[in-house]
Symmetry: C2
Subunit: 205 residues, 2 copies
């Protein structure tokens, strides 16, 4: 019996591949990596894009502060070191999701070029689509949806991106969306059109 058991070696094998999942889903798995200042609209835009994609029958998931900072990265703060580790783990998770054939949207400030480049390096070329939510600091601060800029200016929040911590703009993102001047609908359309052009989703769906 034990002898029979040793055929285990051939058992341990992932037969459900990414290609098969993508075929079942009828779309590619990709990462839409939204980056930009706090208040630039990353979270709003990613959720609105997800709604649009879901209505077209796509399998999607949004990773954002709500489901990452309270879970996987609950042990991390906002020091430079912790921010690097935060984005490292998020990158590793996006790789899993994209291997699962899912259109994976991330909505994190992700302020450092090196960290975004590392996340990009984890997946095959063309699977990591960096979308810069371009919104001037003044507009973000004027909006101050969460009241964080006010706290940061008062010094009540340390290491706040744009105020007391740097934001490194993407030098060569796949897409720039001017979230400071476009409406949400316009921004969503930009992303969807872009995805159609990239062949991630069909033109007519």
């Amino acid at each position: 019996m034990e002898k029979n058991r040793s055929s285990d070696t051939v058992w341990h094998h992932a037969t459900v591949t990414r290609v098969r999942r993508e075929s079942l889903n009828a779309h590619r798995g990709v990462i839409l990596w939204f980056t930009g200042l706090s208040g630039a609209g990353k979270s709003s835009l990613s959720h609105a894009v997800e709604e649009e994609l879901f209505n077209r029958g796509c399998r999607t998931f949004v990773l954002d502060g709500d489901n990452i900072r309270h879970g996987l990265c609950s042990d991390l703060g906002f020091s430079m070191e912790d921010r690097v580790e935060n984005i490292r783990r998020i990158g590793a998770v996006t790789k899993l999701f994209v291997d699962a054939g899912i259109i994976t949207l991330t909505a994190f400030i992700s302020p450092y070029i090196a960290d975004r480049a590392r996340a990009r390096s984890l997946v095959p070329q063309g699977d990591f689509l960096e979308i810069y939510c371009n919104c001037p600091l003044e507009v973000c601060e004027e909006r101050d949806v969460k009241g964080l800029y006010r706290l940061a200016r008062r010094g009540d929040i340390q290491n706040f991106t744009g105020i007391s911590s740097p934001y490194q703009e993407p030098t060569d993102p796949e897409l720039v969306v001017d979230t400071g001047s476009l409406t949400l609908d316009e921004s969503v359309n930009r992303v969807i059109t872009f995805m159609q052009q990239r062949g991630v989703i069909d033109l007519v769906q």
Copy 2:
């Protein structure tokens, strides 16, 4: 224009819920948490179950040493502290996958009761299905598919579960599969039947 922008507050909202995803997928998202000794057949069984589920049109994903230890947890070793953190992170990731509506299979020794209980606590009751791959240590060691038991007995591997590190058997798992005596097909059938009984997948599919 900025005034208009401040309607951002209502935008930032996840509208694609787990319920909607499950409806699109036509099955529930659950976690099948396989636990057991090294060589008990967790990885083989989880991949074979995944193949069966995928052929029924289910959305699935397997988390195992191959895609976790080289990625998300590449910074962790096998000390007790690192094992705890390893399973903590895996638990957090399974929560994300189940929120994404996916049947999520994990194939980790996960030797400590407390760690499995913590992973279970992250999701609603009934979503975490603990499956004990019950295989006597002697059988696992006789198989020694990866040659690890031999190395552990020689002292070349430290903290090896069953040899130099404890394995805490589940006290109340949702399912026990006697992988030491059943064939792989028999084991797969046990899991599939169990999932049908639990209403995770349809009886006829």
